[in-house]
Point group: none
């Protein structure tokens, strides 16, 4: 299955607009995402990455310094993408607004960047050895959300949920659309490269989460 998503689309766009070196780096990035997300760090081969990028192996090594560095670059780009995307809105203090925005953004990221999302999953599956520096950040960022939710609960604006588990459940449901993309396609009766219609998913997911939090969806 080729990536029928924003990763490839933006790649294609860049291929047309950028020049030379940039173009190649972009192709390498795409190829690396495809291979690492399918086979994990150990299982991916530089040969496959090179071929997918239309390069020979020595050519690839001209642009990257090592397989590991290429991998970690991608991994950090996921982490950065997430820390940008997965903040609670600062503009609003309304649980319904904040939570539904959060769900939507998380799902958008998964559907727009399934490859990158899956790379993070393979890393976690493999034990998360490269994530040492990430965990404290993630924990802190989670704790902030937990604190906010707990305040809402204390203020009686939300059902009494375990905030940490709530966040995990949202994570699980949204990440699922990236990690289990193949199964989702099968279950929805879609061809492997047919794009998923995300509107109904966003709707269902939001209602589900809000109701689960004791909030009435619109």
């Amino acid at each position: 299955m080729t990536e029928p998503d924003a990763e490839a689309a933006s790649g294609a766009l860049l291929n047309r607009t950028k020049q030379g070196r940039e173009r190649i780096l972009c192709a390498i990035r795409e190829a690396a995402i495809a291979e690492f997300s399918r086979h994990g760090f150990k299982g991916a081969s530089t040969k496959a990455i090179a071929e997918r990028a239309g390069l020979t192996k020595p050519q690839l090594h001209y642009y990257i310094s090592s397989k590991e560095e290429l991998y970690e670059e991608l991994l950090y780009s996921v982490l950065n993408g997430w820390s940008d995307a997965f903040t609670f809105d600062a503009d609003s203090d309304d649980p319904k607004t904040v939570l539904s925005n959060y769900v939507r953004k998380k799902l958008d990221y998964a559907l727009d960047n399934p490859g990158l999302s899956r790379i993070f999953t393979t890393e976690v599956l493999g034990g998360g050895r490269s994530l040492g520096k990430y965990w404290p950040v993630a924990v802190k960022s989670t704790q902030q959300k937990v604190d906010l939710i707990n305040r809402w609960i204390a203020e009686g604006r939300m059902r009494q949920v375990d905030a940490k588990l709530l966040l995990m459940q949202i994570w699980g449901m949204t990440q699922h659309y990236a990690d289990y993309g193949v199964q989702v396609h099968v279950m929805l009766g879609l061809a492997p490269d047919e794009p998923i219609d995300r509107a109904p998913i966003v709707r269902e997911l939001t209602s589900f989460v809000l109701l689960g939090c004791g909030l009435a969806p619109d």
Copy 2:
């Protein structure tokens, strides 16, 4: 991280009770689960499996015929385990009972067999090439659940949800506790090999799902 779960526990138990060949086969199984679940099929090495099982590579090949066969055996054992575990109760026609039992069984499987669960995840991540025969079964089994849920909805016993998406969301949330075990541990402030206390998770998850379906939890 060694498996802090029923897989290892039962393995250890068997190691003490079973004899010779059985013991070794069991050690190989455990080792293979550990390696495949961490690195996927391509990324796992028979050397690592052999060492983890306390064998040399040629010794390993005395007991198994090939890496691929060993892998597929494990994969099928997940699929069989699932088709056993993830049926809706036939005894009950009560949405609340059926759904909360389903959620609990699904979560139990993930927490009791995280390694096997993750092997399935790596397979799906890799494109699910070995799952050709499985999809039709999975689709059919899902459809039966969807039909039942839709009947409940038609009978006004449940909120009007998209049954397929509901099942996916349950899948995502429960599977998360296997695939993202490492992250879950970090977030809950547990040591890597500390067991997860599943009671609160079951409670939260069940309430969450029932409320999300418009059913009042007990």
Copy 3:
């Protein structure tokens, strides 16, 4: 192709009449002939020999001391068989009689013991490293025949041929029915395990050789 010849036939017979150890040694011999004749010494595997003989590898090694010794035993049994069979009749001094008997015996051996014959061929193909002791014997035995033929020529009882080359040509033509058995079957339109009707071959071959020597066939 299983051997449709005296080797197998006598093997089967022995299997019924001999007991235990003898029977097994016989099965090993047959199996070894089949494997060595197909793949040569290096290419044959003790596993294949053991399986063909209905034994396990350790069982096989209980009866033989090494692959090499088993091979050399067979090789020497060819050499002995040949030194027995391929003498010129001492009873007759008639070129026609002697040569036609020789041709017939040589062909009979090839058709009755194709496996053994082919083992010798694989050995020669491989450089004949194990044949160091054999060559002097063969040379001497050949020289005797050459001397006799030269006498016949000197006496005007035969056309003036190069005796050595004559013997080689006979060797080539008869050995061909063992080494190229597969091709012979194809060319004669026979199924792989169908026996070759040797009468016409003997007839043609004899006439051919006698005419080639300037002798009138009967």
Copy 4:
């Protein structure tokens, strides 16, 4: 024994004249011929081929894709060489001319390409599994020769021989000089790498065949 023949000679020549890649491919070809012809497909090792070609094993695999492909390439090059060489002259309808040319060409091929010739022999000895596509071609080409010979016989221009067996006997006698090269050297009292003087062999062989066909040699 190194190849004391045109294969090696031309190889050596090319080694001096060709450049880089060509030179290496040539060395690989020579090495592969030497190893496969000695030990057959199963018995030959890529390590030995690599060493003989002055390469390491990974280096070898830079130039070839697999042992099997290398082998089949050589095998097909024999088959092609033969289908070129072993046609009956179209220019002549004279049995004597046609047959003696055929004998000479067949012998030349065997003496010029003993290694390649022997590879075909090892393949036939091993059962000819890779020759499925070749047999029909060979049968057809043989049948054409048989038809011609039978016409000559019908026209009274040749002794009444079994044409198929005649062709086999020619095959056996000529192929013998490749397959049994080692024995031929021993019998003729030549050192292993001393070239065979082919003139007397051609002369004897031709007379022998013509007389065997009831034709008077010149």
